[in-house]
């Protein structure tokens, strides 16, 4: 699904945010991207949705070399990618419904289709009763659930999450992770940047570690065990 070949990213001369990263993520995988602050996690994610361009190397998403993409093709790539941020990035002037509906409007879907899909998605995240609220009327956890709904409403091939639980308390974090698990179970490939080790212990999945821009570890912990939340 996603392949990176010798990817480098330099913001200034001789200052590399990523150095020679080669990585492959299969369809349906759930991958944690870890590392200390400044390791290059966010930069790697930005390269995957073309918010940044690699200085060197190639990136393939679903078989397509996105490093060759012109500006006009990038929006069409992003319609297959759901993106979730630590600070939610919701449209504060719009209602919950409008926030979740927006990606479908962008794709030109019909109103009836949008209405049905948005309601179903909000129900999946447990916020169908908050349709007409504005984001600032919600708690942090609810706002992140709206962001998750917005990302999932288009049934993306890939979900990229940059520290999605960074601003949330442990209980809400678990709720968000359950949503991610559900999406992953339905076939969505997920790459989640986090430095929260307890999360990785609770929900063990493949871990890719970055350190000063280089790939430090690519490990597949064992599934199951007492660290995973059950029930």
């Amino acid at each position: 699904m996603i392949q990176l070949y010798n990817v480098c990213k330099a913001f200034q001369r001789d200052q590399y945010a990523l150095k020679d990263v080669t990585l492959s993520v299969e369809k349906g995988e759930f991958v944690y991207l870890t590392g200390p602050s400044g390791a290059g996690k966010s930069t790697l994610l930005k390269l995957l949705y073309c918010a940044e361009r690699p200085t060197r190397g190639q990136i393939l998403v679903n078989g397509r070399n996105i490093t060759r993409y012109g500006v006009s093709r990038i929006p069409y790539l992003r319609r297959n990618i759901g993106i979730i941020f630590q600070d939610f990035k919701l449209l504060t002037r719009r209602t919950v419904y409008e926030n979740v509906a927006f990606p479908l409007e962008v794709q030109g879907r019909k109103r009836f289709e949008i209405s049905k899909k948005v309601y179903q998605t909000l129900k999946n995240v447990g916020l169908e009763h908050r349709l007409n609220h504005q984001p600032l009327q919600l708690s942090g956890g609810e706002q992140q659930r709206v962001a998750v709904a917005r990302a999932l409403v288009v049934d993306p091939l890939v979900l990229l999450a940059d520290e999605p639980t960074g601003n949330l308390d442990p209980e809400v974090t678990l709720d968000i992770m359950e949503l991610f698990k559900g999406a992953n179970a339905r076939g969505t490939t997920i790459i989640m940047a986090t430095h929260d080790r307890s999360l990785i212990r609770q929900f063990p999945r493949r871990v890719v570690s970055l350190d000063s821009g280089s790939l430090a570890m690519d490990d597949m912990p064992l599934f199951g065990g007492p660290t995973e939340k059950t029930g």
């Binding site: 073309c50 918010a51 500006v71």
Partner: protein, 301 residues
């Protein structure tokens, strides 16, 4: 894209509702600029109509030292009326000239008591067709008449005509310069207003880019918004200029203007009114285009 026009229109209206102060500032600026332009246009149009009416009364007068027989005069009139520039030639006899002179003197008509028509010469009054009522055509006719030695004393107010044409040229040039300046100022204001709107909504634009909105999808509502602001500005300008026309020009200055020979002053013709509104829309659209061209490449957000 055409079917989604309604969607972009609704988004543009929503954007305007969410930033009412900025939108009003933009509409107001365009309204003021176009209203000033409209006032100037009204002034120029009416002055042009006035000077055109003055032009109609401009005649070339060929004074006759001696009056020949009627048949000869008729022949002269016929010859001159063959000129393509000439509309009509009238013979003004000494008696007729004297009578006109007495009427012009009004209460002072007693000054010519005891004098007869023989003190004034007879003349041929040559009026030109409308398209020849200018200094160049008049001079050409006069030169041709001078070559014909039958007419030696020819008057047509040449100095006055030159000044009138120079004045009209200055008026049009000033109007064009002022208009150009006002349009440019309005463009700059609209561009800055749209830019401020873009900066205020940067988070929204980023979110749009994240979910795969194309550059056109993001920009189109702002273009529509700019065009709408310009359209409303044009409408407001039309209303404002009409109000000023009705309340101040027609009522307050009406009697004063009678002295200059204007019996009715006219508002802008319908075509110009439509152009004012459409022009406002274009200014708004262009202002938005300028603002959006300098903004972030949304694909790279």
């Amino acid at each position: 894209m055409i079917l989604r026009g309604g969607y972009f229109f609704r988004r543009a209206l929503r954007n305007m509702r969410q930033s009412p102060v900025l939108s009003l500032a933009s509409v107001g600026t365009i309204a003021v600029a176009l209203a000033l332009l409209a006032f100037f246009a009204i002034a120029v149009l009416n002055v042009q109509q006035l000077t055109a009416s003055w032009g109609e009364s401009l005649v070339i007068v060929a004074y006759l030292d001696e009056v020949p027989e009627d048949e000869v005069v008729k022949g002269w009139i016929n010859d001159i009326e063959q000129y393509p520039e000439v509309n009509k030639v009238d013979f003004v006899s000494r008696e007729k000239a004297f009578e006109r002179f007495r009427k012009r003197l009004g209460d002072d008509a007693g000054l010519v008591e005891g004098l007869g028509p023989e003190v004034l010469p007879a003349s041929l009054e040559i009026s030109l067709v409308e398209k020849s009522q200018n200094e160049i055509a008049m001079t050409a006719v006069v030169d041709r008449l001078r070559v014909d030695h039958r007419f030696t004393d020819l008057q047509y107010g040449q100095g006055w005509l030159e000044k009138l044409e120079a004045f009209l040229l200055l008026l049009r040039a000033s109007g064009a310069a002022l208009g150009g300046f006002l349009v440019f100022a309005a463009l700059v204001i609209v561009a800055n207003t749209i830019k401020l709107t873009l900066y205020a909504r940067q988070d929204e634009l980023e979110a749009m880019a994240m979910v795969g909105a194309t550059s056109l999808f993001i920009k189109l509502p702002f273009l529509v918004e700019g065009a709408l602001q310009g359209f409303f500005g044009g409408l407001a300008a039309l209303g404002l200029s009409f109000m000023v026309f009705e309340i101040i020009l027609q009522k307050s200055l009406g009697s004063l203007l009678l002295i200059t020979g204007i019996d009715t002053i006219h508002f802008l013709p319908v075509v110009w009114q439509v152009m004012l509104i459409v022009g406002g829309g274009l200014i708004g659209l262009l202002g938005s285009l300028f603002a959006l061209r300098k903004f972030v490449r949304f694909g790279a957000l």
